[in-house]
Amino acid sequence: MTATTTSDRSDLSELGRSEASLRAFLHGLPGVDQVGAEQRAAMLGTRSIKTTAKAWAIDLAIRMVDLTTLEGADTPGKVRALAAKALRPDPADPGCPSVAAVCVYPAMVEHVAEVLRGSDVHLASVATAFPSGQAPLAVRLADTEAAVAAGADEIDMVINRGAFLAGRYGEVHDEIVAVKAACGDAHLKVILETGELGTYDNVRRASWLAMIAGGDFIKTSTGKVPVAATPPVTLVMLEAVRDFRALTGRQIGVKPAGGIRNTKEAIKYLVMVNETAGADWLDPDWFRFGASSLLNDLLMQRTKLRTGSYPGPDYFTLD
């Protein structure tokens, strides 16, 4: 799929009605050449972003962070502290923007909601038996509803990789549709877990499948498998949202998650967004970073640009 004029916009939702038409469509997408995709991602990584461009990119990246904690050891106290940091990432500088969202397990949502109430920071929760998704559908839907009821306005779901890899695209599709319905007004981010999909062709197909099924965002990873977000995977997903909008008129967001730890990497992703999907995606509504340690490096680099020197790590909060 490549650019199409807006006059012949297609409604792809019909495709989900039959396994055969869904399969025909997904397998009819142009292939991804692995070497070429990796070469393009590497080339974009050589862009040199300096001075004013860097300052602009750092502030944008902070505004795009989904500040995340997904540990068995999370407690109400821990997630409240994280939420406070999301609101005011740099206590020393009131000019520092808030992050996009806080992302926690469903059981922690109510505690975060107390802190974020009245702010613009979104509250995201991973649901659907995160990270494996290996639970009965009814359980996954209940998980989703509970998170929304507790105050989450964004749900990060995982797709059923077992069904996807077995070629049961209709099942994956219908489950996403069901979760989307359970979300109500909450935004749905669909985690493809690209590290388990094996090929870029699969990443492209899973992206289209998630978009056709009604996802608002496509997200790379749970952060719980060895391979998380990579630049070429994100490149393929950015091409998918670009082409999907050209075909249907609907804009879908992209969220690389896991493994993005410093400012330099984050800026490479922003360059890739800029030169692949385009400037329309350079906004927290359309691009997010799922990360925990990234934020402090962004803050440190931000301070360095403003003051000319690196403050020690102890000047940034470890929440």
């Binding site: 490549t2 199409t4 991804v32 050449d33 070429g36 050589t46 040199s48 461009a53 030169e275």
Partner: protein, 476 residues
């Protein structure tokens, strides 16, 4: 909007002297008659340096020095010792890589990203690769004890000045020859810096000689009776003249000449990567590439989406200051080349093809040409037949694989070609039928010292690179 702030590479990393002599017998000397010419930065028209212009007497001295070095030092030296010098040169190219990259960009106009990431690393890689062969020539498949030829006269073009130097000098020295090399008159500076590197590596005097100058210098060199081997990379026109002049002599000849490569995109191609390959094929190094994919043959059933994607991608190309690390397309190498590109593009308009370029602001000074595609091109158009050697792509369509082959081969050239398809059998079927020396599948403009490169038909003969590249410098 994400505006990238200027990110200029520092030009102070390289010291450019006001004037350069000829490098003969290990020393820099002025031309016997004192003649000199100027080398300019094509991006600004600023004069970079004055460079000695070698006449017949200077060429004579250079060939004599090469002969002496061949007979007394380099020829008798064991291969393992020659290898040591070549490895040393390779390492010095890497160590001084930033300096060489900046100088190449200043003198040639190519983007610093390409000089830094392609030209210089590949030049070093060629020296490393052939250094490895120097003591293993008996295993190269050219007999039990292959002998060098003697003195090699080498004339190289301006599009990849240091890289073409490496392609020529590394195999020649590895095989035991000595060389006299003439760089192009618009881009002599990295060859002269390379001469400094030879001195720094303690390479014996006379093994490498650099004579700068234009066509007359080149003619004096290739016609010199004291040379045993002529290697030329450049235009088909000059290549013909050289072939005539060495006919009937003992000189062995290899020619790497022009091209008009077809880049074939089938309807089952990986479209996003094919678009990258098309862009890389024709806009890499401003299209100053003999193997450039200057004819896009796209299957008619996908022509519309491929062209839409190509135009969208071309709008992202950053044209301008070659020293800016974010520049994708730099300056045209010379006023003369710019004139040729304009003339052929105007012929494209006149013959009825449709011209398209993305909006881009070109600098006022210097030599510039916006990335351009022509659609509605037919085989009869000049822009489909003649080598433009600039950032100008001619787009043709085809209906069936057989028609793609027919059009791709319908050219007097035969240097390179590209095939884009996700279907392995179609790639092999196509590659078998393409009359081109190099066929790239799902990629383009990929170079590696281990891989032979060269053309057939009017694109020349002989191979450079790989084991095959040694043959040109051995008496076999």
């Amino acid at each position: 909007m994400f505006e990238y702030a200027p990110a200029p590479e520092s030009r102070s990393v390289v010291e450019i002297r006001a004037s350069y002599g000829l490098f003969i017998d290990g020393r820099f000397v002025d031309a016997a008659d004192g003649a000199a010419f100027k080398s300019v930065n094509p991006a600004t028209e600023e004069v970079l340096a004055s460079v000695a212009e070698a006449g017949a007497a200077d060429v004579d001295a250079a060939v004599a020095a090469a002969r002496t070095a061949y007979e007394r030092v380099w020829g008798p030296m064991p291969g393992r010792d020659r290898a040591k010098y070549l490895f040393r040169i390779a390492r010095l190219i890497q160590e001084r890589g930033r300096e060489l990259a900046v100088l190449e960009t200043l003198d040639n106009g190519k983007p610093i990203r390409e000089a830094r990431d392609t030209d210089i690393p590949l030049a070093a890689a060629h020296f490393f690769y052939y250094a490895g062969w120097a003591d293993k020539l008996t295993h190269a498949g050219f007999g039990a004890d292959p002998r060098p030829l003697g003195v090699a006269a080498q004339v190289i073009p301006w599009n990849f000045p240091l890289l073409m130097l490496a392609w020529k000098i590394a195999p020649a020295l590895a095989a035991g020859n000595t060389v006299v090399l003439k760089p192009a008159e618009t881009t002599p500076l990295t060859a002269l810096l390379f001469a400094e590197i030879c001195a720094q590596a303690d390479l014996p005097a006379g093994v490498v000689n650099i004579v700068t100058g234009a066509g007359e210098t080149g003619r004096a060199l290739v016609e010199h009776p004291g040379v045993d081997k002529v290697a030329f990379t450049g235009s088909t026109e000059v290549g013909r003249a050289i072939a005539r002049s060495v006919a009937g002599t003992r000189k062995k000849l290899t020619l790497e000449l022009g091209g008009k490569a077809a880049n074939i995109v089938y309807d089952d191609a990986p479209i996003d990567q094919a678009v990258e390959g098309i862009v890389n094929g024709i806009f890499f190094n401003q299209g100053h590439v003999c193997c450039a994919g200057s004819r896009l043959l796209v299957q008619e059933s996908v022509a519309e989406p491929v062209l839409a994607a190509l135009k969208r991608r071309m709008a992202q190309l950053r044209v301008g200051d070659p020293l800016d690390k974010n520049t994708d397309v730099g300056a045209i190498n010379s006023a003369a080349q710019l004139e040729r590109i304009r003339e052929l593009s105007d012929a494209g308009d006149a013959e009825g093809a449709q011209r398209w370029s993305p909006e881009c602001e070109l600098p006022e000074r210097g030599f510039w040409f916006a990335p351009t595609i022509f659609t509605g091109v037919t085989q009869a158009h000049r822009i489909a037949r003649e080598e433009i050697f600039g950032p100008v792509l001619s787009v043709l369509t085809f209906r069936t694989p057989a028609e793609a082959i027919e059009k791709a081969n319908n050219t007097p050239y035969g240097l390179s070609a590209g095939v884009w398809s996700e279907k392995g059998s179609r790639i092999l079927w196509t590659a078998d039928r393409l009359r081109a020396g190099v066929v790239w599948a799902n990629t383009f403009n990929k170079f590696d010292p281990t891989s032979p490169f060269g053309g057939y038909k009017e694109s020349g003969y002989g191979r450079e690179g790989g084991r095959h590249g040694l043959e040109a410098y051995l008496d076999v």
